[in-house]
C-alpha cells in the first residue's frame, strides 16, 4: 500500500481551516511525508486532479453553482470525504438565517440587484452534507490543530475517525474553569461541540458556539435558562443562530414560530 493520496479543497469560507493546516508548522513536513498531497491550492501550484483520492478534506460552504460543481467532482473521485470547519460541516456564519428571512433579499441589499454578479449563480450557503455524502467531519471555526492531527493520524492508518459526542462544558471542566453560565454570562458551552479545548471559557469569555451545535442539543432549556438570567428571547436566539448553521437555524425558526411567531432576523 502506498501513501494515501489526499487533496485539500476550499469552497466558500474564510480559509481558516486550510490556514490552520498550514499552521501545523512543526508537523507540516510530516503531513506532506505521510500523505501524497495531490492538491492543496492554497499551498502549492503543483496539483494533479486526475487521480482518485483516498481522502479529500473540504472546507467552506456551498455558496455558488461553481462550489457545487467542484464539490461533486471531488466527491466522485474520493474514497473518503471529510468536511472540515464550521462552514463545511454546518454551513458557517453565512447560513445563520437559514429557515428565515429570504436570502435573496439580503443578497440584493448587498449587491443591489439579483443579477449584479454574473460570474457564477450564487446559492444560499449550505453545508456539504446538503448535497453529497460526507464520511467524517471535523467542526470548528476554525478547526484546531490537535484534533486535526488526530484525525489525520487515523486517516493515514486507513481508519475513519469519529468526533466526540459531548459539549464544550466537558472540556471546560477538564480545564478547571469556573462556570460562566453560573455567573450569568451567555455561554453556549452546553450546546456546542467540544474539540476546541474550551478556549473561550478558559479566557473568561462565554463560548459563542463556533464548533457548532451538538447533535443532542437541548436548546429549549438553554433558552429558558438564559431568559431566567435576564436575557431577552431575541438576544438569546440571535446568539444561538450565529453558529447554529442551517440545521439549528431551521429548528430555531420553528421554535420562534411556536412561541411568538416571526423569524430570527
Amino acid at each position: 500500500m502506498g501513501k494515501p493520496k489526499i487533496g485539500i479543497y476550499g469552497l466558500t469560507g474564510c480559509a481558516g481551516d486550510q490556514l490552520n493546516i498550514l499552521n501545523c508548522e512543526d508537523e507540516l513536513l510530516k503531513i506532506f511525508d505521510i500523505f501524497e498531497v495531490k492538491s492543496f491550492v492554497m499551498a502549492s501550484r503543483a496539483k494533479d486532479e486526475s487521480v482518485p483520492l483516498d481522502v479529500a478534506f473540504v472546507e467552506g460552504s456551498v455558496s455558488t453553482e461553481k462550489d457545487l460543481e467542484e464539490l461533486k467532482k471531488v466527491r466522485e473521485k474520493s474514497r473518503i470525504l471529510v468536511a472540515i470547519g464550521h462552514c463545511a460541516v454546518f454551513g458557517g456564519v453565512q447560513s445563520m438565517y437559514m429557515g428565515c428571512e429570504a436570502w435573496m433579499e439580503r443578497y440584493k441589499k448587498v449587491y443591489g440587484k439579483e443579477d449584479a454578479v454574473t460570474i457564477s449563480p450564487p446559492l444560499e450557503p449550505r453545508p456539504l452534507s446538503a448535497y453529497v455524502k460526507v464520511d467524517a467531519v471535523l467542526p470548528g471555526c476554525p478547526i484546531e490543530k490537535e484534533p486535526f492531527l488526530k484525525m489525520a493520524g487515523l486517516l493515514a492508518q486507513g481508519v475513519i475517525p469519529k468526533n466526540p459526542d459531548y459539549p464544550v462544558c466537558a472540556e471546560c471542566k477538564w480545564k478547571e474553569n469556573e462556570c460562566l453560565l453560573l455567573k450569568g454570562e451567555m455561554c453556549l458551552g452546553p450546546i456546542t461541540n467540544s474539540g476546541c479545548g474550551a478556549i473561550c471559557p478558559s479566557h473568561n469569555i462565554g463560548c459563542i458556539g463556533c464548533w457548532g451545535p451538538i447533535e443532542e442539543e437541548n436548546f429549549a432549556a438553554g433558552i429558558a435558562l438564559l431568559e431566567s438570567k435576564g436575557y431577552t428571547l431575541d438576544a438569546v436566539i440571535k446568539r444561538f443562530s450565529i453558529f447554529g448553521g442551517t440545521e439549528r437555524g431551521e429548528k430555531l425558526a420553528k421554535y420562534i414560530e411556536s412561541v411568538k411567531g416571526g423569524c430570527n432576523g
Partner: protein, 426 residues
Amino acid sequence: MDRKINVEPIARVEGHGGITVTIENNEVKEVRFDILEGPRLFEQLVIGKTPEESVSISSRICAICFLSHRLAEIRAQERALDIKIGKKLQLLRKLAHFGEMIESHSLHYYLLALPDYLGYPDAISMVKKFPQEVTGALELKKYGNKVMEIVAGRRVHGENLTVGGIGRIPTDEELDWIKKRAKELIIEIERGLAVWEKLDIPDYMEEEMTFASVWPEDGSYDFRADTIKISDGTELPGDEYKTLTNERVVPHSFAKRCRYKGRPYSVGAQARMLIMQDRLDGEALKWFKKYYNERWHKNPHYNNVAQAIELLFCLEHIPEIVDEIKKTPWEDAVEGRDSGKGTGIVEAPRGLLIHHTEVEDGRVKYADYVIPTTQNLDAAELYMRNAVENLIKQGAEDLELPLEMIVRAYDPCISCSVHLVKVIRK
C-alpha cells in the same frame, strides 16, 4: 493570434480567484481578475447583533487577517459607542497585531511568494535547496501564531480581545517568552531578506501608482490610526474613507472594486513603507535603504520585500512593547453611549482595512466593510494588462506564471474581498 488564457484557480493565495485574459489579433481585449469565492453577505449578517457579536462575526471574514478585522471592528464599535480604553489594552492590541503581521508576512513571503522567484511549485519543494530558509520561515510563522494565541486567544479567530476589554491578560512568563523569542528570531528574517538581493525582479508591468495607508497620529510606524494618508499628500480623517475608496459592483466578481479619483490605487506593506518610510528605524531602516529604488513606486513585486522588512521591524519593536505592557497598570475602559456611528481603520497585513458601523440601542443597524484586496483589484488588473501587452510584444509564451505572480504579490485575501461590498441604500 487569438488566445484565451484562463488561470484558475490561482494557487497559493487565500480564496478563489481567476484571471481571464482575452487576446484577439495579438491585441489584448480584456484582462479580468475574477473573484469566484461565493458571497457571504457579512454586512447583512451583523445587522441586529450586539457590538460583541458583530466583532465575532466580522472577524470571520478572513482567517489570515482575522485579527485586523477584529481590531477594525472593535475600533469602529468603540468609536460608535464612545468607549475609551486604557493604555495597557492599547499595547496588548498592538502586540497581537504585530504577531499577526509576523505570521502573515512569513507565510506570504516565504511560502507563497518566494517559490515563484526561485522556480518551485511550493515551499515544501524548496526544503532541499533552502532548508534553513524554509525552517526559519516556519519558525517565524509559528512565533507570530504563538503571539496571537497568547494575546488574542488562538491562532485563528481568537476571541480574547473584545470591545473595551480583554478576557485574559497574558501572564508575565508568557510576555517574557514573547520578548525573548523575538530577539532570537531576528537572524531568521535577515537570512530571508538576504535572498531578495539575488532575485530578478520583472519590470514588464511597471506604471506609476498611487498608494494609501494609515497615518498614525503619534508619529510612529504602526498599523492602527484614525487617519488615512494617500501618496498624493492628502490626509483623510477615517470617517471620510469613501473619498478614497468609492466602491462599485462589477459583474465578474463577488468582490467590489475601488478607485481613487477615477484611478486604481494600491494598499499593503509597499504602500505603508513608501508612506511611512521616515518613521522606520533600526535594522529595518537599513534594509529598506539597501533595497529601496525608484521602481518601488511602480512595481507591485516590491510588496514582497516590503513585507519582509516590516516583519523585521515588528520583531525589533516587540521587546519594547512587552516592557511597556509589563509596567503599565490596567485601567478599565470608560463606557460611553449605546448608539452612534464609528469607523475603525487598521492596516491588515495586506493593506488598509476599514470597518464602518452604525449602532442603535446597542444593536448594529448598518455596516460597511472595505477590504484591502478590494482596493487592490483594479491596480492588479492594470498591472496585468501592462504585463500581457508587453509580454506579447516580447513574444513570451508563458503568460500564466507572470500574471499569477502579480496577483500573488498583492497577497490577496480573496475570501475577504468578496464579502466586503458596499450596501446600496435606497
